[in-house]
Amino acid sequence: MSSELESLYQEIILEHSRYPRNYGRLPQPTHHAEGYNPLCGDQVHLTLQVDGEAIRDIRFEGQSCAICKASASVMTSLVKGLPLSEVEQLYEAFHALLTAEEPPTFSHIAPKYQDYLLAFGAVRNYPMRVKCATLPWHTLHAALHESHHEPVSTENL
């Protein structure tokens, strides 16, 4: 087994993809969005309960690869209960982790989140898989910030 592959599919990722948290749909969401990666067929559907300035509850559903599913599972776990401003910070940190020229240091992110985010660090070495990991986050961003009818596609991003 290549050790590169072990670092891509870390146990956190395999575990979350096998036993996804927050899987399903909220019955009466205040926000929702659908994300789609036309290249591989990954699909994520998010439903949220946003109350005042924080995400009270969140669920995801959809067919997707292990990276995408684990990312959605970890993301929903992290943002549930979080103020929107912190959600935005995590979104940016995650995006930078996978795509920035220099990976970020995460010094401003609470340590309890860091391990979860960093588990996805090796994805940056697999350019065709970056979109798998970022799709849930883009979809979350769209659910919170856009009032559109078309699903988010990673092609738009």
Partner: protein, 422 residues
């Protein structure tokens, strides 16, 4: 069948493909099983392209100078090579395009302007590539038209028994794939063409995936239109072919406007050239068309369709046996006859993850929807992994694939230390 002589020839031919002797970044040998997406290029093709550019390059059709005459001659000879390759009646029936996709769009737009009436119907099939769906949808948006996809048998072949039910007085075209790029199953095209002829309906054949595995003769298989892409036939990117049976080329209006497709341009009125020039506006992919002829000669003369058929039949049996031995593996579409292309999934492993896993073994397979979303919908899966072979693939590569698949099952199903479930 004794495979030894076949194997020897395959090993010899493989040496013609420089890319195949390269190591994968993992250090393992490169195993290229993505042939349905694009084929690798033999040395003769690469060298012919260089030689043309380094010694013969010129624009065509409009020059009396030496290089231009030579280039024109080579380009028109390439057209004749394609003509003879397909058994077409005249070079006028051969149009060079970018690829099958442009070819179908060219035909679709011509039919839109000179043939279809609003409400007309086209019969296609559930296994069409997007290239044989979306061009018709674009035309349908303007006219409108109705698209009727034939269903599949449970083994993944086009169900021709449905044909009479699909026929209506408004049926004006059957546009269908010869061999499925997703499943590898071969459409019973002879029956379909006979049916179409009996009802005076023209047939468009998407031969992208068939012509790389079997010879096609448009006199024996009298379709009206046929398309294929050069890059899948061991030739360059940027070139493909439309076969347009006479007199369709006379009836259809031009596709693109520009140089070379005209007889006389004035601001008031422009007269178009006869086919094939009518359909080749502007500077074509000159070098690519010329080198496509080199690729065709390589396939017909050096490799030979007899060899391709025999050797690929051997690989086909082997591949299916090896795949069937992998626990949890589902093969989609097992009908015969077929080309050496298979879609499959392994229980509990998303094809995307499988693709990355196999890549770490140096194995290139395609994963995704293969531009076959309606087929994926029909199969009820979002994506598959696809194995597609060429005559340069070797049995030991298939063995390695099986090993890797077994390793993938182990890797993705390995017991995990219990993490806290937050």
């Amino acid at each position: 069948m004794n495979p030894t002589p076949l194997l020897e020839k395959a090993r010899q031919l493989r040496a013609d493909f420089p890319i195949l002797s390269q190591a994968h970044p993992s250090g393992r040998p490169l195993i290229y099983f993505d042939n349905a997406a694009t084929a690798q290029k033999p040395r003769v093709v690469i060298e012919r392209l260089s030689a043309f550019l380094a010694t013969q390059n010129a624009n065509i059709h409009r020059g009396v100078h030496w290089l231009s005459q030579e280039a024109t001659h080579l380009y028109e000879k390439a057209r004749e090579t394609v003509q003879h390759f397909l058994g077409a009646a005249s070079p006028e029936e051969i149009i060079f395009v970018r690829g099958a996709t442009e070819g179908i769009n060219l035909i679709a737009q011509g039919l839109r302007r000179a043939y279809f009436q609003p409400g007309d119907e086209i019969i296609l099939s559930t296994l069409e590539h997007h290239a044989n769906i979306v061009p018709w949808q674009l035309v349908a948006e303007e006219l409108p038209l109705r698209l009727k996809p034939l269903p599949l048998t449970s083994a993944g072949a086009v169900d021709v028994s449905a044909l009479p039910d699909f026929l209506s007085p408004r049926t004006r075209l059957i546009a269908i794939t010869h061999t499925s790029n997703g499943l590898g199953t071969r459409t019973p095209i002879e029956e379909i063409v006979a049916f179409a002829k009996a009802h005076d309906i023209p047939v468009l054949l998407d031969a992208c995936q068939s012509i790389v595995h079997e010879a096609i003769d448009v006199q024996k298989l009298p379709v009206d239109f046929l398309v294929f892409s050069g890059h899948k036939l061991y030739g360059p990117t940027g070139v493909g072919v439309v076969y347009m049976r006479h007199p369709w080329g006379r009836k259809l209006p031009p596709y693109q406007g520009g140089g070379d497709m005209i007889v006389r341009v004035t601001w008031e009125k422009t007269r178009y050239a006869p086919p094939p020039a009518k359909f080749e506006a502007g500077t074509p992919a000159i070098a690519e068309a010329i080198v496509l002829a080199t690729a065709i000669h390589y396939i017909t003369d050096t490799v030979g369709y007899d060899f391709i058929q025999a050797y690929e039949a051997y690989l086909t049996d082997l591949a299916e046996a090896l795949l069937r031995d992998v626990p949890g593996l589902t093969l989609y579409g097992t009908a015969r006859p077929r080309g050496p292309i298979w879609s499959f999934n392994i229980e509990g492993i998303h094809p995307h993850d499988l693709g990355t896993f196999l890549d770490s073994w140096g194995i290139a397979v395609r994963v995704g929807h293969h531009c076959n979303q309606p087929l994926m919908d029909a199969l009820g899966v979002p994506a598959t992994a696809r194995l597609s072979l060429a005559f340069y693939n070797l049995p030991e590569e298939l063995q390695t694939l099986q090993e890797a698949l077994l390793a993938a099952v182990e890797f993705f199903h390995k017991p995990l230390p219990s993490l806290r479930h937050e």
